[in-house]
């Protein structure tokens, strides 16, 4: 499978969680992704908070995580 790249900073090999977060929070059909740091900056929250959200989404059985 082709690895995904952050379209802001160019970080390579985005994780499943980074891809999932971009889809979950912005557009589930996107082909364009943020790394955790760039997503946190865009949404004006800190990265720790996004990591907590990932854990919440997992408990909700979200298939993206």
């Amino acid at each position: 499978m082709e690895s995904k790249v952050c379209y802001v900073c160019g970080k390579e090999k985005l994780t499943k969680h980074e891809i999932g977060l971009t889809k979950k929070l912005l557009d589930k059909n996107t082909k364009c992704f943020y790394c955790l740091e760039c997503l946190a900056e865009y949404l004006e929250v800190d990265t720790e908070f996004l990591l907590e959200k990932i854990e919440e989404f997992k408990t909700q059985d979200c298939e993206l995580f």
Partner: protein
């Protein structure tokens, strides 16, 4: 946190909490016990039963406490073992899934359509009636869009036709005036946590003389219709919470209407092409369901959550829930439009400052989602 999801659940009122606590601590007697310690619990239940009866124009002997709306709805529906039932396509899952279970047992079910505002047509209902129709179940007010159904008109027709009538009043009780005689219903179901009572408690109105089959068997509590040791503390909280809602209904209604109007006009001023779902003429005061064209409702809900604002959406990717709201689809929205919707529901603890924060956060989140989708 700004809690704007009061149609989902409500914060327990201080009075309801304060009055229930003694029944979780020192007054823990079993209401069925014949000594004083038990009698105190029994008396507290009967006091709550009288409060509920007074609030909905019923007699105390017509009120049965349950665990909530879903149990009440399932109990009423499950009392019908054959023949034909009429319901609507926008009912809560507790009604629809009970109907699906009955269909598997051979009961015929008609699911009435609704118009674009979510209203059931009396004409459609009259035409759906068959010689073997045993029960009609139509919700008093819809949980997703707030539309209030013409229950009184339906009730009068069914009363003349001699057909039993149930209304799921979970969203209505405590928020709009509800009188079982004026509505001409035989059964009505409600849930305490929707009107600032505690979770896990509800009630069912069963008009004197109409049939009902218990779901739970045992010690014959609740007039023999709902066995099991009563949730005394929850029932006490229910009684006080409902009494408070009835006492303060007019000022609370005016307040939440103002919040709703401010929110719709505030959002529309910045995002003109929103679609507000539901019936503006006959509507629960605190609920708004809005479609934001091109903005995923689920994404919007999560971005608001990141800012500490709680709203809900009918669509999600959770494996526990279906993907798209059956209510919004029944209004005639496309699947895509239904995915663009969120529900904001205000209650008595919300303020105009909170509504202003909701407006700003919604508009900002829409801009971020739409801005990203433009790039993606």
């Amino acid at each position: 946190m700004i809690y704007a999801d009061n149609a989902s659940t409500t914060r327990i009122s201080d009075k309801a909490l304060e009055r229930m606590l003694p029944f979780l601590r020192e007054e823990y007697g079993n209401p069925s016990s014949l000594y004083s310690h038990g009698t105190k619990s029994k008396n507290a239940i009967e006091e709550a039963r009288c409060k509920v009866a007074g609030a909905i124009g019923a007699e105390a002997s017509e009120i049965i406490f349950t665990s909530g709306g879903s149990e009440g709805n399932t109990c009423v529906l499950s009392s019908i073992m054959d023949g034909h039932i009429v319901t609507s396509s926008i009912e809560h899952d507790s009604v629809l899934k009970a109907c699906h279970a009955l269909e598997r047992k051979g009961v015929d079910i008609t699911y009435l359509p609704v118009d674009s505002k979510g209203l059931v047509s009396l004409y459609d209902l009259e035409n759906s009636i068959r010689s073997n129709t045993k029960l009609v179940s139509i919700m008093l007010a819809n949980n997703e869009i707030g539309t209030i159904e013409p229950i009184s008109e339906i009730g009068k027709f069914l009363s003349k036709a001699g057909i039993l009538f149930h209304t799921d009043a979970v969203q209505a009780v405590g928020h709009i005036p509800v009188d079982v005689k004026q509505l001409s219903v035989d059964y009505l179901t409600a849930s305490a946590h929707k009107f600032h009572g505690s979770k896990g408690t509800g009630f069912m109105y069963k008009r004197k003389g109409v049939p009902l089959s218990p779901l739970v068997f045992g010690g014959e509590q609740e007039l023999g219709f709902r066995s099991g040791t009563e949730n005394v503390a929850g029932i006490v909280s229910l009684g006080y919470a409902l009494e408070e809602c009835i006492d303060q209904m007019e000022p609370i209604t005016n307040k939440v209407r103002e919040l709703v109007e401010a929110t719709v006009s505030g959002i529309r001023a910045r995002i003109p092409n929103i679609l507000v779902n539901g019936n503006t003429e006959s509507h629960l005061p605190g609920i708004i369901n809005i479609v934001f064209e091109g903005v995923s409702g689920e994404s919007l809900m999560h971005l608001l959550d990141l800012k500490g604002i709680c709203v809900s959406t009918g669509s999600s990717c959770s494996s526990k829930k279906k993907a798209v709201s059956h209510v919004l689809m029944a209004l005639g929205l496309t699947e895509e439009q239904a995915r663009y919707a969120i529900r904001i529901s205000y209650g008595r603890f919300n303020t105009i400052h909170e509504a202003e924060s909701v407006i700003a956060a919604v508009c900002d989140a829409c801009k971020k989602i739409a801005g990203f989708s433009g790039k993606a």
